[in-house]
């Protein structure tokens, strides 16, 4: 009995000591042994494939956010329906939902302005510009957040969802008048530039 008492007291002292050492942060956190480590990429060299000259005038950027979902629920037979009716997870069902934030850039493709589109005489200038267009629609990885992922989704399937989100944003921003705003902004910016370099009569028209 004395031996058992000794073992008991030793265990209690050990537990109290470990507890105190942990509180004082003198021992490593045991829970961290099983916690996943932060994911970090290795330092990867960047390869520049090419650098191209461009002549674009970005006059409007629209910011948007969409939620996009997809699922793959196979047709149910007797047993699968039984599983579903009992609210049990069906291992063959797949569900995914992601939030994508993106930007749509609109403006002018200045390469489309030809020599004959610019007419200058004394203090008068007239320029024909191309219509405003969407120059870029961007959904980058850091713009995406997955909040439901059930089942196996390949990176290609997720990329398809991101592409759908990007198209949705592009369409929505155009429907909301992005191109009209981009065009008006381009006209006023070019008119201001002409006035600031000394022209009195300025006309900017869309082709």
């Amino acid at each position: 009995l004395k031996k058992l008492q000794k073992i008991g007291i030793t265990i209690i002292i050990l537990v109290v000591a470990i507890f105190l050492l942990q509180r004082l942060k003198l021992l490593p956190d045991f829970a961290s042994w099983f916690r996943s480590k932060p994911l970090l990429i290795e330092n990867t060299p960047l390869l520049v494939e090419n650098i191209r000259d461009m002549a674009q005038m970005v006059t409007q950027v629209s910011f948007d956010e969409v939620v996009i979902k997809d699922d793959d629920v196979p047709e149910g037979g007797y047993f699968r329906n039984l599983v579903r009716n009992r609210s049990l997870a069906d291992p063959l069902e797949k569900r995914i939902a992601l939030i994508a934030r993106g930007r749509v850039f609109a403006g002018l493709e200045l390469n489309k302005v030809k020599e004959e589109d610019l007419y200058v005489e004394k203090d008068s200038v007239r320029l024909f510009i191309p219509p405003a267009q969407v120059l870029d629609a961007i959904v980058n990885p850091s713009d995406c957040e997955i909040f439901i992922e059930e089942g196996n989704w390949s990176i290609e399937e997720v990329n398809e969802l991101k592409k759908d989100a990007r198209e949705m944003m592009r369409k929505r921003s155009v429907d909301r008048g992005l191109l009209t705003r981009a065009q008006n902004k381009a006209i006023s910016a070019i008119e201001n530039f002409f006035r600031s370099v000394g022209f009195k009569k300025v006309v900017v028209l869309v082709k």
Binding site: L39, L46, V61, F105, L118, I138, I146, K163
Partner: protein, 129 residues
């Protein structure tokens, strides 16, 4: 192992040009431009590829949230490397050529284009593009 293709656009923010940046004397003009900056960074989803995946016995495969986290780090790494890629310098050279040619078409015979020594601060500074 994943591979991504990134498209970076660099250019000049013409909104930052003020009246005092233009000096005109007859047919001579001096234009001071702000420094080129990154206009956009685009990692199109269709050009993101998973080349290989190996995980240890006790670990599940990477889920898509984890893959997005890794790709976001790659995106930031590209964004932070802009200065060393040479595209800002190229954008400034291109701006000098394009704006110079355009101003000459307006009738100026002597066109000088210079750049600010340092980037100008503006409302977009610090904002992700």
């Amino acid at each position: 192992v994943m591979s991504v293709m990134a498209y970076l656009k660099a250019g000049i923010d013409l909104e930052q040009i003020k009246d005092e940046d233009l000096l005109i004397e007859g047919k001579k003009i001096v234009v001071k431009l702000p420094r080129a900056k990154l206009i956009s960074l685009n990692l199109p989803p269709e050009e993101i590829k998973e080349e290989d995946q190996k995980t240890g016995f006790f670990r599940d495969g990477f889920n898509n949230a984890e893959k997005i986290e890794l790709l976001s780090q790659a995106e930031n790494s590209i964004r932070n490397s802009v200065d060393s890629l040479g595209i800002l310098k190229k954008a400034e050279e291109n701006a000098v050529f394009f704006i110079g040619k355009f101003i000459k078409r307006l009738g100026y015979e002597d066109v000088t284009i210079t750049f600010d020594p340092l980037p100008r601060s503006n409302k977009n500074n610090g904002k992700k593009l």
